[in-house]
């Protein structure tokens, strides 16, 4: 069987395999996996008996994405605006609320059960209500993105702030430290790995929230474009939308991970990455 696209990937992989322990391996392995996945997909659509209406070839999807580049960018800007704003709002409210719950028993008793109850409501189910309240514009999508990404940020902030070693707290108090200093020098820095865990989970959820909002009712954004394309049976454009959405979500996730690397270089997870990169 002729394999036009696979040989392009395999010799490279064979050549680079002995270098597996090098820094490049952290990029190399996912790259190879992605190339193989798309190669199989491409071959399946070309040589398998699959209708392009059901599963278009990756090359066709890419061509469509290039053709529709301006509209995809315009729609991306709208969707990105919605999820970044919704996520930002979730961080700005979730972090302090988590801290308040840790520091105040009455606030914990008052709000925590309510927040957990709210979390169990499927956000897609109440999205239409948000549309009724805030209209079909951008703000209703921001609110849905916020509602869906807020909880992990708050919960991980609580877990992080509560996970300090008691001795470290005693130590600062024995030095005459105020509760604020205990927070600033011990509890908060100690909570950062957990907080970033929450932020990363929330970053992917915010994207889902924005799309759910656009699905329910909108006249712009990638979710809207996706629905329109679907209605016109333009499967290629649907996949192009999904592709762009995936790239957007990835970019957002890695932006947060880059921030994490700056703020919590000292943490175990960062150390392991560093050790792997230096080949230890």
């Amino acid at each position: 069987m002729a394999m036009p696209s696979v040989p392009a990937g395999t010799p490279d992989a064979a050549e680079l395999a002995p270098l597996g322990s090098r820094a490049s391996s952290s990029y190399l392995y996912p790259l190879i996996a992605t190339v193989v996945l798309f190669a199989v997909w491409e071959l399946a659509t070309r040589f398998g008996n699959i209708s392009p209406l059901i599963l278009p070839a990756p090359s066709k999807i890419l061509a469509t994405a290039v053709d529709h580049f301006p509209v995809l960018m315009r729609m991306s800007a709208v969707t990105a605006y919605e999820f970044v704003l919704g996520f930002g709002l979730a961080a700005v409210i979730g972090l302090p609320l988590g801290a308040l719950i840790v520091y105040s028993r009455p606030i914990e008793m008052t709000f925590y059960p309510m927040l957990v109850a709210f979390q169990t409501i499927p956000k897609a189910a109440i999205a239409p209500i948000f549309i009724v309240w805030l209209g079909t514009g951008i703000m209703s999508k921001v609110l849905i993105a916020f509602a869906i990404s807020f909880f992990p940020i708050m919960v991980d902030t609580i877990i992080g702030l509560r996970s300090s070693q008691p001795e470290t707290v005693y130590l600062v108090r024995a030095m005459g430290g105020t509760p604020y200093q205990v927070f600033r020098h011990v509890r908060f820095p100690n909570a950062l790995p957990a907080i970033f865990g929450g932020l990363k989970v929330a970053s992917t959820l915010a994207v889902i929230g924005a799309i759910v909002g656009e699905f329910v009712s909108s006249d712009t954004g990638l979710g809207y474009l996706l629905l329109v394309a679907n209605g016109e049976l333009d499967t290629r454009l649907v996949f192009a939308c999904v592709l762009v959405l995936t790239l957007l979500g990835l970019a957002f996730f890695f932006a947060i991970e880059a921030m994490e690397k700056v703020f919590v270089r000292w943490h175990v997870s960062a150390r392991q990455a560093e050790a792997a990169a230096s080949g230890e």
């Binding site: 005693y170 030095m175 020098h185 011990v186 100690n190 000292w266």
Partner: protein, 274 residues
């Protein structure tokens, strides 16, 4: 440097007023879900300025609780603790504290960990940095200032914790089983290092340990506590010349102290030999 046990006990006598006075202290931990737990019962103890006092006792006898009470971090149920002239109801200002876990802040470098006190007390870091560097050098950590705690061994980490406690030149040093998590060899070295530092600085030390021989080796006085609720079962003065050497542990005078303390333990029904 060349101080004998003789001179040490004279020094202790000169300070007529004890540096730390523990008077009739009792500590009960009460909880809504469990029965109240009496950890300490009627503890009275005077510690002279510059004295090195160890507390030994079986697990759960309230040794650590006693140290926490002296630190002012938790309140007594009954009785009082006086340091210098003031009653303890919050941490004493000139206190150094070392725990069994080094409690280093992972996000700070070795130097920044030692300088923690400067940040908490709003002191000038630049002025204290030479002191911190000097302390690290005295404990064999010269050149490690910029390292992060995770890059150090357990013994090195605990040295950093000790340097951090010594930064403000504390007049009272509280140590709660500081070497309990270290291997035997490192532990012996740490005992020697602590003795050397103490002989230079002469801070008052309250040292909690499980190890009888460690207590005898380091201390002017060893306090033996009974099982819970903790009471003082024996108060033994260790008259051995300083600086003490590891080889002294094989000498008969050292052995007699250790045997005496072990007998006290056996009188509790602990350390049963068939």
């Amino acid at each position: 440097m060349r101080t004998t046990g003789q001179a040490r006990s004279e020094l202790a006598v000169v300070g007529a007023e004890p540096f730390v006075r523990i008077v009739g202290v009792e500590k009960v931990f009460s909880s809504r879900t469990r029965a109240a737990l009496k950890a300490l019962d009627n503890i009275s103890l005077d510690i002279a300025a510059g004295e090195f006092v160890s507390i030994v006792g079986p697990s759960g006898c309230g040794k650590s609780t006693l140290m926490m009470l002296v630190s002012g971090l938790i309140p007594t149920t009954r009785g009082e603790i006086v340091i210098e002239t003031s009653k303890v109801n919050r941490p004493y200002a000139n206190l150094g504290i070392v725990f069994q876990r080094d409690a280093l802040l992972e996000w700070r470098t070795v130097l920044d960990n030692v300088l923690l006190q400067a940040d908490i007390r709003h002191l000038d870091r630049r002025k204290l940095t030479p002191t911190a560097v000097d302390l690290l050098a005295r404990t064999g950590l010269a050149g490690f200032e910029k390292y992060y705690p995770w890059e150090l061994s357990g013994g090195m980490r605990q040295r950093v914790a000790i340097c951090r406690a010594l930064l403000g030149n504390p007049s009272l040093l509280l140590m709660d089983e500081p070497f309990g998590a270290l291997d035997a060899m490192t532990r012996e070295q740490m005992n020697l290092d602590l003795q050397r530092i103490w002989l230079q600085d002469r801070e008052t030390v309250l040292f909690i340990t499980h190890s009888i021989s460690e207590a005898v080796f380091l201390s002017d006085r060893v306090i033996v506590m009974s099982p819970r609720p903790g009471r003082i079962a024996a108060d033994i003065r260790i008259d051995l010349p300083r600086p003490r050497k590891l080889s002294m542990r094989e000498e008969s005078s050292f052995g007699r102290y250790v045997a005496g303390i072990r007998e006290t333990f056996q009188s509790f029904g602990l350390l049963k030999e068939d």
